[in-house]
């Protein structure tokens, strides 16, 4: 089966600087794929290469089974590095211009304006739009061709919480209709809520490519009991010292969540006062910083 997006050893260098290095990416059909990475990781450069806007220094891109070009791009909608339109034209006129360039009937414009809830402001000049409205117009432009693949670069930038929720719903609807979505983001919560699979990019390299669930795997049972050192010794005898670590004022116990009852009974039975016992799942942010070597406190 043809993959909507496939890259092989994709590389882009600017002089000595490698913006993207040896990137092997594959996005199956119908998936919402999150392209995650800090600013400057190479996400936008990769997306530009996918869309034929910049040429790779090395490697290969296959978009819907073909080289990026007018033929393959005819089935791709995209919003790259923020919305950009003609400020003196209305939202509708901007989309009509793009419909002409896309070879799409101008009647399609009103349909996509409706999808992004911009019909009421369609006659107003783009220059008067809020950032969120501009972003929605960008999404409308990406949907003009009724695409099989949608590539979105930071699609929720500038959106308020309601707008972000709307965007999530729209993207999910797209995926449900069989459209493949590739979106880049540096917002972990966004990726966590929208995406099926995630590729984490750092310094131009793909650090990992996995499902959101797998990325978050590796939870632990968090235990707060008094006295803590004695509780640690006691649990160490039961489960082995290597499966216990101290995390501030709590213990992290590397066991299955189903073991919580037994742990509680053992501690209470031994006379410890248990004040907290819960399954602690590492959030995506922690995993992300662990993968990219970033420091969450530095920002």
């Amino acid at each position: 089966m043809t993959l909507p997006v496939e890259t092989t050893a994709l590389t882009k260098r600017y002089g000595e600087i490698a913006a993207v290095e040896d990137l092997n990416l594959s996005v199956p059909a119908g998936e919402v794929y999150g392209f995650l990475g800090p600013n400057g990781a190479g996400k936008t450069t990769t997306l530009r290469m996918l869309l034929g806007l910049i040429r790779p220094t090395a490697g290969r891109v296959r978009l819907l089974g073909a080289e990026p070009g007018p033929a393959s791009l005819a089935r791709v909608g995209a919003l790259i590095e923020g919305p950009a339109f003609y400020p003196y034209l209305s939202g509708r006129a901007n989309l009509r211009v793009l419909a002409d360039h896309a070879g799409v009937r101008r009647t399609r414009v009103d349909a996509v304006l409706d999808v992004v809830s911009l019909t009421d402001r369609a006659k107003d000049r783009y220059a008067t739009y809020s950032l969120g409205m501009k972003q929605r117009l960008g999404l409308a432009a990406a949907l003009l061709k009724d695409p099989e693949l949608v590539v979105l670069d930071e699609p929720t930038n500038g959106l308020d919480p309601a707008g972000m929720a709307d965007m999530r719903v729209t993207l999910r609807k797209l995926a449900a209709s069989g459209c493949t979505v590739l979106l880049s983001s540096h917002l972990l919560a966004e990726v966590e809520q929208i995406c099926d699979r995630v590729g984490v990019l750092d310094h131009g390299r793909l650090v990992t490519e996995t499902t959101v669930e797998d990325l978050r795997a590796g939870g632990a049972l968090r235990v707060v009991a008094d006295p803590l050192p004695n509780a640690r010794e006691h649990l160490g005898r039961l489960f082995g010292p290597s499966r216990i670590r101290l995390d501030g004022t709590a213990l992290e116990l590397d066991v299955n969540p189903e073991q919580a009852g037994r742990v509680n009974a053992e501690l209470v039975g031994a006379g410890f006062v248990v004040t907290e016992l819960r399954w602690h799942e590492p959030d995506l942010e922690q995993t992300f910083f662990a993968l990219t070597g970033g420091n969450p406190g530095a920002a």
């Binding site: 530009r48 034209l89 896309a102």
Partner: protein
């Protein structure tokens, strides 16, 4: 490519700057072709030397020259600015990516821009012809002169010449915009060349250095001036340094060269 042309025409026709440039071209042409000369003519208490010639240049049978008089200099500058806006604004607004991800080929989009520049040049020259014809008829009426129009063939060849000159400057604007990937710098450099360097070469360097005088025969400005002069235009920068045939060939070569070079640059460069 027809749909790309329609898109480009929509962009430029709805752009206020397009109409402002056209209005400025008309006002300047009428001001320096009719208003100022006529004021000088009617303000003179006695017939100064050449006053008869001044009136003759404003009458209907000479309107083609008046319409073309500004093209080598200020109308040319406005055409260059228009060309820069057509291509350079895509960099300024960041819309190259917005357009190109809709899957037209770069060649088609670029070709549509050149066609739009050529159509706008034609519209501008037609407007200049219409307004100068009207002004010349008004002068003839005010001065009680017989209204005698030039032959249709002269008007048509004049239109063609004006179109070629305006398109050449517009194509240079497109090339500068793509070469420099911006708006302000191409306009600045284009105007410095068109309004300053060309005049310095013609008035200072060419009389002193023979090779500069020869070089003038191959530069766009002097050839534009020579073509306008062939239709009776009289203005700064309008001088018959070469014949009309050679000027036409040189200007057409420039249109092709500017167009090809701009397309080659756009095709091979990354859109960042």
């Amino acid at each position: 490519m027809l749909r790309d042309i329609r898109a480009e025409l929509t962009k430029q026709s709805r752009r206020p700057a397009t109409w402002l440039l056209l209005a400025v071209a008309v006002v300047l042409t009428l001001t320096f072709g009719y208003a100022v000369p006529y004021a000088g003519l009617s303000g003179a208490t006695s017939g100064p030397p050449g006053s008869g010639r001044g009136l003759a240049a404003m009458l209907p049978d000479a309107f083609v020259g008046s319409a073309l008089g500004g093209l080598p200099i200020f109308v040319g500058a406005l055409a260059l600015i228009f060309g820069v806006l057509v291509a350079g604004s895509e960099y300024g607004y960041g819309t190259w990516k917005t357009v190109l991800v809709q899957h037209p080929s770069r060649v088609a989009v670029y070709g549509a821009k050149l066609v739009t520049v050529a159509l706008a040049a034609l519209a501008a020259v037609l407007t200049l012809f219409a307004t100068t014809a009207g002004a010349s008829a008004l002068v003839a009426s005010l001065e009680g002169q017989t209204i005698s129009w030039p032959a249709a063939s002269d008007v048509l060849t004049g239109l063609g010449a004006g179109w070629l000159v305006a398109t050449m400057w517009g194509a240079l604007g497109v090339l500068l915009a793509i070469g420099l990937r911006s708006v302000a710098l191409p306009i600045g450099l284009g105007l410095v060349w068109l309004l300053a360097v060309q005049n310095l070469l013609a008035s200072i360097a060419a009389p002193l250095l023979d090779w500069v005088a020869q070089l003038q025969k191959a530069l766009p400005g002097p050839n534009a001036g020579a073509l306008a002069a062939a239709f009776g235009a009289s203005a700064p920068g309008v001088e018959q340094v070469v014949g009309a045939g050679q000027a036409t060939a040189v200007l057409a070569a420039y249109v092709l060269a500017f167009g090809a070079l701009g397309g080659w640059l756009l095709q091979r460069r990354d859109i960042t």
